[in-house]
């Protein structure tokens, strides 16, 4: 019984953190949103060199969660869940380059080297069609047309890892919004005091701290024993906690938080998109209930 990251796992988290903190990821995300994928591809390659794209096949879900928390904390753009969590499990191999899969639309299919869709429980290659605009401008979503069926592994397990990776990404995004909100309310003064000294602000941010603290163990508990129930619980809790972080973060920033220019907008919109990505909260709650009370 040791429900804490090992030294190696902490070191891995720290190395990703230092890479991403120095990579100006917000600019990368903004360029990606504007259709300039070059900085995002360079960052993708650097993360692949760190092993992020091979974690699903060569490491454990714990390492996958560590990586996705970091990707969420730094708002790294691209179809990471699809390419580094779902497809390696579905195909039984690391994706060379960038891959994506329709769930139900294919994220960033215009950038992907490989595009897939699941039809009647079987994996098919797919061709991207019409594009859709997301609340998060960095998420370009495409309809797809199924092509040839391809060999595949356990798609349910692939789905569960994608759900868990999305949960971890939400956890990282929520932590980032809380950290930035705390920094802001310590600086911003109104009525002659830092607004962070007012209880209305303190209690709202304390509630975010509490929600994130109790979402985290569900993520790593599910990573140690991934089941439909455990990954759905992680996704529900992380979506709730990150969404609370985004609403609270926006509120304590006031009007400046409501601008596209201010970087908070990158996380607020990303969290909103991820709340319903890879299964809505209602779908995940239904899955949990089914597992607990039977039919």
């Amino acid at each position: 019984m040791r429900f804490e990251l090992t030294t190696d796992q902490r070191d891995f988290a720290a190395s990703l953190e230092s890479l991403l903190a120095a990579a100006d990821t917000v600019s990368v995300a903004r360029a990606w949103a504007d259709g300039d994928h070059a900085p995002g591809r360079r960052l993708w390659e650097r993360l692949a060199e760190q092993g992020v794209t091979m974690l699903a096949t060569d490491a454990t879900p714990v390492e996958v969660c560590i990586a996705f928390e970091a990707l969420g904390r730094h708002a790294v753009p691209g179809p990471w869940v699809e390419s580094a969590a779902y497809l390696p499990m579905a195909l039984g191999r690391e994706v060379e380059g960038i891959g994506t899969v329709a769930a139900p639309r294919a994220l960033d299919a215009d950038v992907a080297d490989e595009v897939y869709v699941v039809v009647d429980g079987a994996l098919h290659a797919a061709t991207p069609g019409a594009a859709h605009v997301s609340v998060h401008r960095g998420r370009h979503l495409f309809d797809v047309t199924p092509g040839e069926a391809v060999d595949h592994g356990d798609l349910a397990a692939a789905d569960d890892l994608a759900i868990l990776a999305t949960a971890a990404q939400l956890l990282g995004a929520g932590e980032r919004v809380l950290a930035d909100a705390v920094t802001y309310v310590k600086q911003r003064k109104q009525f002659g005091r830092e607004i962070g000294s007012y209880q209305a602000i303190k209690h709202a941010l304390a509630d975010v701290r509490i929600a994130l603290d109790f979402a985290r163990p569900l993520v790593f508990g599910a990573a140690l024993a991934p089941t439909p129930r455990s990954v759905s619980a992680a996704k529900v809790a992380c979506a709730d906690a990150a969404y609370l972080a985004s609403r609270t973060g926006l509120q304590v920033h006031g009007a400046i938080g409501y601008t596209q220019e201010f970087d908070l907008s990158v996380w607020i919109t990303k969290i909103r998109a991820l709340v319903t990505a890879w299964g809505t909260p209602a779908e995940h709650r239904a899955r949990i209930l089914d597992s607990l009370v039977g039919a």
Binding site: H203, P217, F220
Partner: protein, 391 residues
């Protein structure tokens, strides 16, 4: 990183489960805040203690098993899963004993711990005063130094003042609380931690009926109550620091272990399963799932806490995160049960008892507003709020 129990932990779990299955009363005992229920709960404590299950984490010399923190959490999970009675001795066992082990003299440990373990002596906590609730350190009850006591001639202290909302005091034997021993010292300084028998000359206990009509707490009046030096816990004047180690325990792990909530969440799921289809069931569905998720989160979170403590870490302000979580979970879980019961929700039932009790959770052991201040200031590092006039 792993959630595996060792062979010896699994054996401990099996032993606890088997004993509880054999010995937990089939019918719930009457409320421990009635005279009859109090005695039956004490008898249960004696039975637990005889089999060395009442204080598993204590050393064997004091009726414990020297169980590890992991084993303690396992025992709690099994205890509540088995539907065993509430612990009438919890103020002493979970709140006072950690302080006695840390700050008590050998003589105090030998004198107080055994009777606490067997349920022979039940303890009441006496913190609040009419004008000192959340702002506990503004308390006014006094302790005056005397060189000779009224009967034995030994030196000690004379207590005067009033405590209120003293849990278990209506029926308990001993109390613990803070008194102002140095009127000149600043607010948090000059407080001393005392232990006193509730039948001592000068002590008057006036029970207070709680929301459910039962006398779960009481007012306690002190009129020149003599307490010998041997019943001072920690150093005179050091009471605030000594008491705050209890506060951490109460908010943190020891008062409300996750087993209580995982067991309640399981019962809630069974209730949901037994509830006929209809609007009450439909409307409660999301809350039923969320209660299960939150209890599971608390279970896993606790394993994280245990892992930190095993490595020599400290709960610290995280105890406040814990307290807000379990107290709000307890209310939500019982509200959901009442929602499922529909028009029967108002009728006497175990769920209704649990609901009424849960409403006190966000208030006792430091209100959740105080906990959120602690989280904001000590964990998030936000600036302290300007305080009103200090004494």
């Amino acid at each position: 990183m792993d959630l595996q129990l060792s062979e010896s932990e699994l054996a401990f779990q099996a032993e606890a489960r088997a004993w509880l299955a054999e010995n937990v009363p089939a019918e719930p005992l009457p409320s421990l805040d009635t005279a009859e229920g109090f005695e039956l709960h004490r008898a249960w404590e004696a039975k637990l203690s005889a089999a060395r299950w009442s204080v598993v984490s204590w050393p064997e010399t004091y009726h414990g098993r020297g169980a590890s923190l992991v084993e303690w959490v396992i025992f709690e999970e099994e205890y509540y899963r088995a539907g065993a009675p509430l612990r009438v001795g919890q103020n002493g066992i979970f709140l006072l004993s950690p302080i006695l082990f840390e700050h008590g003299t050998q003589e105090q440990q030998d004198r107080f711990l055994p009777s606490m373990a067997t349920g022979e002596k039940v303890w009441a906590q006496c913190w609040s005063e009419p004008e000192a609730g959340s702002d506990l350190a503004s308390l006014k009850s006094t302790a005056r130094r005397v060189s000779t006591g009224p009967t034995t001639g030994e030196s000690g202290w004379v207590l005067n003042g009033q405590k209120i909302w003293c849990s278990r005091a209506a029926l308990a034997h001993w109390g613990f609380g803070l008194f102002r021993s140095d009127p000149e010292a600043q607010k948090h300084a000059g407080l001393t931690y005392f232990l006193f028998p509730l039948d001592a000359p000068g002590v008057t206990v006036r029970p207070i009926a709680q929301l459910d009509g039962e006398a779960g707490f009481a007012e306690v009046f002190f009129d020149d109550v003599f307490v010998p030096d041997t019943d001072v816990l920690g150093a005179p004047g050091d009471g605030w620091r000594v008491a705050m180690s209890t506060a951490g325990n109460e908010r943190g792990l020891s008062l409300r272990s996750p087993g209580r909530f995982t067991a309640a969440a399981d019962r809630l799921l069974a209730l949901y399963d037994d509830t006929a289809d209809g609007p009450n069931r439909t409307a409660a569905t999301e809350a039923v799932v969320d209660a299960w998720i939150k209890a599971e989160a608390y279970r896993l979170y606790t394993w994280g806490t245990v892992s930190k403590l095993k490595d020599g870490g400290d709960i610290g302000a995280a105890g406040s995160v814990n307290k807000v979580w379990w107290s709000e979970l307890d209310v939500a879980l019982h509200e959901t049960a009442l929602d499922l019961l529909g028009p029967d929700a108002e009728l006497e039932s175990r769920w209704l008892d649990g609901y009424t009790f849960s409403l006190s959770g966000p208030i006792y052991a430091g209100t959740n507003e105080i906990q959120r201040n602690i989280i904001a200031e000590r964990i998030l590092g936000l600036p302290r709020e300007p305080k009103g006039q200090q004494r």
